[in-house]
Symmetry: C2
Subunit: 332 residues, 2 copies
């Protein structure tokens, strides 16, 4: 039986046809994409579930999800809750995907908040950054849960054995950082994870750790700083090269190498991010996703189903819950 | 009378001779650098104040500053407090500079915490990021003060009239962000500054705003993400180009253009950052500063003295203090 992935055709800046093209490219004997889109959308033979409402990027997520139960985004998420699909992919509003997932899929037992796990294509190999923006404010206990989620992702999807976990801070020393980081550092030291201490954002694209843990505000700022810097530097190089004949010739010669750098380092290359901590597999794709990014995101969703990421995460988090916690031990 | 700048020769990864070379390069009829370094240091004719203790990068800042009153770093800071110099520059430990400045220069009246203001060499022109790492935790009122400090910096040092201020967040919408950002957003809206709302880190190197306000943890993470990404992408490009004959030739041809991009976008280009909110002018240089960066940092310090940044900041912040604040207005 192929893995069925519900694909929201109405999210994404490039329109439904681009998403359908991505879904078509992802189709195989092992993977059956089901498109959620407007009646009459040409899916080139893929199954279409008709949805006539759309959630815009500028709508308030919680209100939009409640007000538009018939939207493609909400229906695609509900397909997972109802067992009609095993995973869902959307390039629509991240906030709306989070709200719809919390409402219809709900959190795994014990999970404080879901976390967004993105794969950074670092120089030394892929590295997981979690949380990349699901919660703007976090407690130390959430960062501990994100560390377990990220470690499971690294093991199951990236095939890393006993992944090294680091905490994003503003210095490598344990005593540096915000109050949140200082407290999370202590929890991580006692977590049983292979915790190697703090890391700085300057190493994110080098890949100092297999898993980098942070709150959603900091993670989102760091991720967008990487994306923006890559675009600005390549754009600046392009305009500098265009300013002289020597530069133009050099620009032609370096084009293939520059393209490889851009493709490899662009955080969009992986196509999608997992929203972890829910009772179902949710992949969020970048709004600007091309058909290739959409196909990659659908493939990522299917890999999560094949590796049973949701059940394994539930097992793992319940094992963490059963460990005697510090406060109990101190007072007991 | 030339501006006298106290220069700590013992900070910096490249050793005292590099710092002396930078000080020499900065010397002019209008600028007199005074070197604080070990007895016997060859200053090529610059005034030397002998200091035989050194504060290492790995020492606890507060303890080191108290335990080593005779260190070059502490003595250089005290020179400003004592009126022996009008500004101080160090490439040593940022934490120790902050601790020494709080102890010996003290805060301006009403200042909650000093802020580090760095100039980002953005595409559309220089942009001020504040706080780049002085306080790891901040309250909304501190972010409001940072906004005023950054606006003054932009006006006085960068010559921007009525600078546009934005708040760093994870979305442009006012309702997006951490609790800290939501509250700071409200304060900034009522601040009388030209506040244009939130900005995202993806625009930092483009230069969407003249002043970008954030807490020191987020600012430090964003700044190091920019620095790291620039180094990683240029390094990746270099190794891709080295892999083929075509690439090697292209690499030779683009070298001048790539050098200009690197020089222009490298956050170290400005040589130093102001530590604002103190009763004296303090410039912190990058630990890895070359002689050129040191000379730039000393020049930046002298410009701050010429523009009387400390007195103007005191005036400005006391004017802010006198404005009826929201809570008083609500309850009064």
């Amino acid at each position: 039986m192929p893995v069925r992935v519900a694909v929201d055709a109405l999210g994404g800046d490039r329109g439904p046809d681009e998403i359908v093209a991505g879904a078509l490219a992802s189709e195989s004997a092992a993977l059956e994409p089901v498109v959620y889109g407007r009646p009459g959308l040409d899916t080139h033979g893929l199954a279409l579930v008709e949805a006539d409402e759309e959630i815009g990027m500028d709508e308030s997520p919680v209100e939009a999800v409640r007000a538009k139960p018939g939207s493609s985004l909400v229906r695609a998420v509900r397909a997972v809750a109802d067992g009609d699909a095993q995973a869902v992919v959307s390039a629509g509003s991240t906030g709306a995907m989070l709200a719809a997932s919390l409402l219809h899929l709900r959190r795994l037992p014990g999970v404080l908040r879901p976390g967004i796990a993105v794969v950074l294509p670092a120089r030394r190999g892929p590295s997981v950054l979690i949380d990349a923006g699901a919660s703007a404010d976090a407690r130390p206990e959430q960062l501990l849960q994100f560390a377990h989620m990220g470690a499971l992702f690294s093991e199951e999807i990236l095939g890393v054995r006993d992944p090294e976990v680091r905490l994003l801070s503003i210095g490598e020393e344990a005593e540096k950082g915000s109050q949140l980081v200082l407290e999370a550092h202590e929890l991580l030291r006692e977590s049983g994870l292979r915790f190697a201490g703090n890391t700085e954002s300057r190493w994110l694209l080098e890949g100092e750790a297999d898993v980098v843990v942070t709150d959603g505000f900091t993670g989102n700022v760091a991720l967008k700083a990487l994306e923006g810097t890559i675009l600005t530097i390549l754009g600046s190089l392009r305009s500098e090269l265009g300013a002289s004949a020597r530069g133009k010739l050099g620009g032609l010669l370096i084009r293939p190498a520059a393209g490889r750098v851009r493709t490899r380092l662009d955080p969009e290359t992986y196509g999608g991010a997992y929203l972890l901590g829910l009772r179902g597999l949710v992949v969020i794709a970048h709004g600007s996703s091309s058909r290739i990014a959409i196909a990659n995101a659908i493939g990522l969703a299917a890999r999560g189903v094949e590796h049973d990421v949701v059940a394994r995460l539930e097992e793992r988090l319940s094992a963490v819950d059963r460990r005697p916690d510090r406060e109990t031990a101190d007072t007991g």
